[in-house]
């Protein structure tokens, strides 16, 4: 290109040194590392080490205290025992059931509330505070109060019967097959406000012109919310979903306060299993084996995601 040549009159200069040399170490990178030192320590020092530690422990017969003596290593005994334990199997099933049900119910209810809150209602502040406040209550308290309300002799059932409907039956916690629904109700009560807030923020972030377009197309409001707006709120849904997942995997306080895993072992959860075994049951090895199993789905999920991202990046050429 002729014009370029003219731009290049000083070409004699350093043209030979086509390489600009090594990138020098930047003080700002150091600062960044220093600034994230707590993060590094937490991520590596706490989470990684702790998880490895737990993993190793799961191959020992440690009871109260972690024991790493050569005589303590028992191979995969803890795992075989774990998967032969009825209570663990029930716990795992419960986690899936409870998790799916409560996440679906929570997200549905949260979205529904957000949609209703989005109707330019009066006293929005009040409603929002009412829906949000349960999140401020610890799960221990949530469990306690709901246990009361669902108690057939004190709560809703007794009250309705007191009104004359003597056949009224509503006592989910009493029955092994329904107790888990009681947990779900309490869980939703506790957490749906936050989901609602996230969804509401997501709704308000949707371009107003989409709404207008839908109105002109004559699309009924509910269809717009369901088919147009909802798919546009991926960020909000993802945030709410992650929060929910974290809560579900860790669910412990609520179960202990509400049902103690009962009736029978109908509402046992993995987290309860793990915690009981590393504390009162004095079988740290088994507890850690269970904990490792709990992390497995998360590892797989993250692994798949990382792999997908790596593939995508490779395809894009990063």
């Amino acid at each position: 290109m002729a014009q370029l040549a003219t731009a290049n009159e000083g070409g004699a200069v350093v043209k030979t040194a086509s390489s600009s040399g090594r990138k020098p170490f930047r003080i700002t990178t150091l600062m960044s590392v220093i600034g994230t030192l707590p993060l590094i320590l937490t991520a590596v020092g706490v989470f990684v080490i702790c998880i490895i530690y737990s993993f190793v422990l799961s191959f020992t017969n440690s009871r109260i205290f972690p024991a790493f003596g050569p005589e303590n290593f028992v191979g995969t005994d803890q795992y075989s025992r774990l998967w032969a334990t009825g209570r663990w199997l029930v716990s795992v099933n419960n986690l899936w059931f409870f998790g799916l049900l409560s996440i679906v119910a929570n997200m549905t209810a949260g979205y529904l509330l957000a949609v209703f809150m989005d109707q330019r209602i009066k006293a929005e502040d009040w409603f929002r505070s009412i829906f949000l406040y349960p999140f401020a209550m610890s799960l221990v308290i949530t469990g306690l109060v709901w246990r009361w309300i669902l108690d057939p002799n004190y709560g809703i059932q007794a009250t309705v019967r007191g009104l004359g409907f003597t056949d009224f039956t509503f006592a989910p916690l009493v029955n092994a097959s329904t107790a888990i629904y009681g947990l779900v109700v309490a869980g939703i009560w506790n957490g749906v406000g936050v989901t609602m807030a996230i969804m509401l923020a997501g709704l308000r972030g949707v371009d107003a012109e989409i709404w207008k377009a839908a109105k002109i197309d004559g699309i009924p409001t509910w269809r717009t919310y369901l088919f147009i707006v909802l798919p546009m709120m991926r960020g909000a849904i993802l945030t709410a979903f992650i929060l929910q997942c974290v809560g579900v995997v860790r669910v412990f306080d609520l179960v202990v306060a509400m049902t103690q895993g009962g009736p029978g072992i109908a509402t046992q959860m993995p987290a309860v299993f793990v915690i009981q075994h590393i504390t009162d049951r004095s079988n740290v090895g088994l507890g850690m084996a269970a904990a490792t199993m709990m992390l497995l789905p998360v590892v797989i999920l993250l692994g798949v995601q990382a792999f997908a991202q790596w593939r995508a990046n490779k395809a894009k050429g990063y």
């Binding site: 012109e209 207008k212 839908a214 109105k215 002109i216 197309d217 699309i219 088919f227 147009i228």
Partner: protein, 361 residues
Amino acid sequence: MTQHSVSIRDLSLNFGNVKVLEHLDLDIAQGEFIVLLGPSGCGKSTLLNCIAGLLDVSDGQIFIGGKNVTWEEPKDRGIGMVFQSYALYPQMTVERNLSFGLRVAGMKKDEIERRVARAAEILQIQPLLNRKPVELSGGQRQRVAIGRALVRDVDVFLFDEPLSNLDAKLRSDLRVEIKRLHQRLKNTMIYVTHDQIEALTLADRIAIMKNGVIQQLSDPHTIYNKPVNLYVAGFIGSPSMNFLQGTLDGTTFTAEDGTVIPVGTYQFTTPVTGATKAVLGVRPEHVVLGDEVARMPYSTEVEIEIVEPMGSDTLAWTKIAGQAVTFRVDSDVHLEVGQKLRIGFDPARGSIFNKETTNRV
């Protein structure tokens, strides 16, 4: 009354205490292309939304196709609308974007297909039908958005700054496409923009708005050459009209520094009596230099301050009667900063405004 495609009667709209539109009247003929032009916040979109039924009017009536639609739902008004942000449904393919409204309305399948096919053909988007909006360029998106109005087979199209999000090149291409579309479909179009080139090139008539009031409603030529007031004069034209402050007395205009400019050739619309504070407006392209100066009623010697070459033409900045003036010359003419030369203009091609009322005299 029926000959009007859209009629607006005494329309008012408030947001709480803020009066955005007040007692607005507007009649639009069948097949007319009306552009609403005005600065940001003047109420253009608000007016369009009222017509579309997206905003509840505070007072007044709206007729579309002779029918009073003041309280109708948007979908029943026989209108289609195209938005600045395209407002495509992101998770649907182009085909579903086009057909969604029809399907919701329960239209027959083959009729839907026919309409979508027709719109796609008109807009040349057949190859895109199975893509999602994210896979489209800005221009393609806007075309789909127009298609969504097209399939509705309506009489009135409403456009709210449909081209503002596009880059200059695409904007001018799509502008022509919209113009062609109008020539082909011949339906009424109401088009909001704040880009005057769009307004001038597209409109049959332009409504210049300011603070919710229509200042002038005329064809582009009249708007450009005979602005009814100072506001319209300054708003339309880029580079904008030069204004010289002074006093008008009969057929003489005396600038503030005493320079006298004869305006005898000017066609007054209202007779002026006595000395009046006035503003003389001259468009930059009506200032001449070289041989032609001699033919002008007014000419003077000036010094060039800034030269802006714009490719096809060149813009020069200077001072007449101590007041800043720009003028446009062909790009062949070579001008230099500091150069002195003689320029002139004919007040007959300019505009004179009463300074107080700001109206054209």
